[in-house]
Amino acid sequence: MTHASLRSLPPPLGRPSRRGLLRGAAGLGAAVALGGSAACGSAASLAGGDRRIQFWNLFSGGDGANMRGMLDRFRAEFPGIEVEDTTLAWGDRYYTKLAMAGAGGRAPDVGILHLGRLAGFAPGRLLDPIDTGLLAEAGVRREDFNATLWDRATIGGELYGLPLDIHPSTMFYNRAACEPAGLLDAEGRLTELNGTEQFLDALDAVREVIGQSPLGWNALMPGECWWTFVGLYAQTGGSILSEDGTELALDDDRAEEVLAFMARLVADEYAIPGQDLVGYFVNGGGFVLFGNWLLVDFRTAGLDFGARPYPTLFGTPATQAESHILVLPHQEGRSGAADEAAHTLIAWLVRNSLSWAEASHVPAYLPILEHPDYLAMEPQSEYRGAMDIAAFDPPAWFCGTSSRVQADVGVHLSAAAMGSVTPAEAVRDIRATLRSLLDTRNPFGEGTAS
């Protein structure tokens, strides 16, 4: 069995030559034929499903249109591979379907997962490992990624997710509000704000300019409080759980310090909880703390704004981030041409993620992160540094996007931020919640023992 099809992948960024394309298609055809004869596959499997890839994703907004556009380009470049993409509703429902499909061994060939969810998704049982050899042949290697990111997707020595992007917590700033406050440099970018006092001073200055609360940040939402806490607590140099995700490592003093700061944002009316963030920013708001994807809404509204990672308020630069990873949901007997085509697809997607970055996510593939066309994207490239300071969720089964930890710990964070409990009380509640989550058996069981 050769990997001819992958060797003949087109160069990452330029459009493929016609000859390359033809060779690729021919190679694939040969691979299918070889695979079929080598495995003594039935005629039906040869003629039918082999080069058809099912791809499940959860991109429904602006990034959904972007992904469909990328898949159309892939289809044009690889006429031999038929990609059938299904967009499912985001959140619990997506994970429910993916888990059940993986459990039955009849999963789609390729899926999308949030990196934070990987530890709880039974890698090895519900997910199949990615063949890094095949990826390398397609020109995708560990060196092409931020090492922390790649290693977080590696469990028990096997790669289970190929990072497509990261989507960090971002601070959006309104130029019209920041300029009169003297917060912009010559290039119109926000000056560095270090430490909580400097940050609050800047907020006060902006409040003077705009005559309303200077910060859009919704302390009412547990998930948003979780993101903020993960980022700011990482800035103190602490970690919430031990490195293997099995022990509590929370430092009470540091956590209280961060919570007291979050509570101050609300108590001193820097941020009004319950605010619709887009509504706030469109109505002349100063700053917004939220995930980078709000960029699409702000741009649609025609605002003049910039976006950067969280300012460094507690010493060490860090900003919370999640990542979309491409995964191979578990299939009985995943092998042969379909498997190779799946690897072809995921390698192609990360290598061609320039257009993905337009929808605001930070590309994980470093050659794209340094690509001139990406650097020219404003304000996307302004927060590209988030890649080096990304603080991910702890590696435990109950973490990740819209997970138990976001709801259960987030609610205590929100209570502290809203001032209904003191930071010390909140830390006690957070400890109790984390301990009970740690004491709960990982529902899908430990991953790699399949």
Binding site: D92, S414, A415
Partner: protein, 315 residues
């Protein structure tokens, strides 16, 4: 609550039939008496109600996860954990508070609106439509609409009041806001039931009372209210059952916040089962809530029966 309904075999059939047709099997006799007509329903009833009920019970005795892998039998451990789970009782308390606040409001407001629409001279159709229309909205639309109304700075309410009322920001206010939004949304249905009941009251009762010198309030208390009593009972039961299952509008408006103070028990079950993958534990929680709802229904049935019995004696 359909689970409580008796098995839909035709009652009495087995007792009367054997004497007439001793040769036929029991099943054959049932089929003879309309069984085929009931069969399609029975299939659905079995597949979508009985089977899930039974398998849910089985799940609750296991450490079952969403994917159904690595399952382990653990007996009553899930129930033991649930009884000590403060979050269950908190969220159940929220559901009960919501029910206790909403049910009397719905009855009173629906009755008031029905009286208005019934007695108004002009544009009856318009009032009926206006009061009933919100009931037709999907919960997502309702949630979006009210979230904007409650918005702290740009919301219609706070702008009109020129004050920053913490509609969704403080626990008690948030529960009240949920009740208010739900009242607006669902009152139309009860309103319609009351309207039908009002139209069914014969005019001659009012005429006779007026002749005897009864004023408008007396006519209302002594004729209208007693005449719609059955409908009131029906609305109360339907409303209690619907409120105990409240989930979507609260989740969509506020995710059960702030500080989980409006989180209904259904949301907690979903969080355990689908966010946390623990279907076994979520099933155990569901069964506990199920038993409580059944208990409420039985108490209600018992009260009604008692009242009708008392009435029978006094007559």
């Amino acid at each position: 609550m359909t689970a409580l309904a008796p098995a839909p075999a035709p009652p009495g059939a087995p007792e009367t039939a054997p004497a007439r047709r001793p040769g036929r099997s029991r099943l054959g006799r049932i089929m003879q008496h309309g069984g085929w007509f009931v069969a399609p329903f029975l299939v659905f009833y079995g597949v979508f109600l009985v089977w899930p009920l039974v398998s849910g019970l089985w799940y609750s005795l296991n450490e079952t996860n969403l994917a159904g892998i690595n399952t382990e039998f653990i007996g009553l451990d899930n129930y033991r954990e649930a009884l000590n789970d403060d979050q269950l009782w908190d969220s159940l308390g929220n559901t009960l508070t919501f029910t206790a606040m909403l049910t009397p409001l719905i009855v009173a407001v629906a009755f008031g609106l029905a009286l208005l629409a019934h007695n108004i001279k002009h544009g009856k159709w318009f009032w009926r439509l206006a009061f009933f229309a919100p009931f037709l909205l999907p919960s997502a639309v309702l949630a979006d609409l009210w979230r904007w109304l409650y918005e702290p700075d740009y919301g219609l309410f706070n702008n009109a009041l020129n004050e920053r009322v913490p509609w969704l920001l403080e626990g008690d206010w948030a529960m009240f806001s949920m009740v208010l939004a739900t009242l607006w949304w669902t009152v139309g249905f009860s309103f319609l039931l009351y309207l039908a009941a009002l139209q069914a009251i014969p005019d001659h009762l009012y005429e006779a009372a007026a002749l005897d010198g009864a004023g408008p309030w007396q006519r209302m208390w002594h004729i209208t209210v007693p005449m719609v009593r059955n409908i009131t009972g029906l609305i109360v039961v339907l409303q209690i059952l619907a409120s105990l299952q409240v989930f979507d509008q609260i989740f969509l408006i506020n995710e059960g916040g702030p500080n989980n103070e409006t989180r209904p028990v259904v949301q907690y079950i979903i969080q355990q089962g689908f966010t946390g993958y623990r279907i076994g534990y979520a099933s155990a929680l569901s069964y506990i809530v199920f038993v409580l709802i059944v208990a409420v229904t039985l108490v209600r049935l018992w009260l009604v029966r008692k009242r009708t019995d008392e009435k029978g004696e006094t007559r």
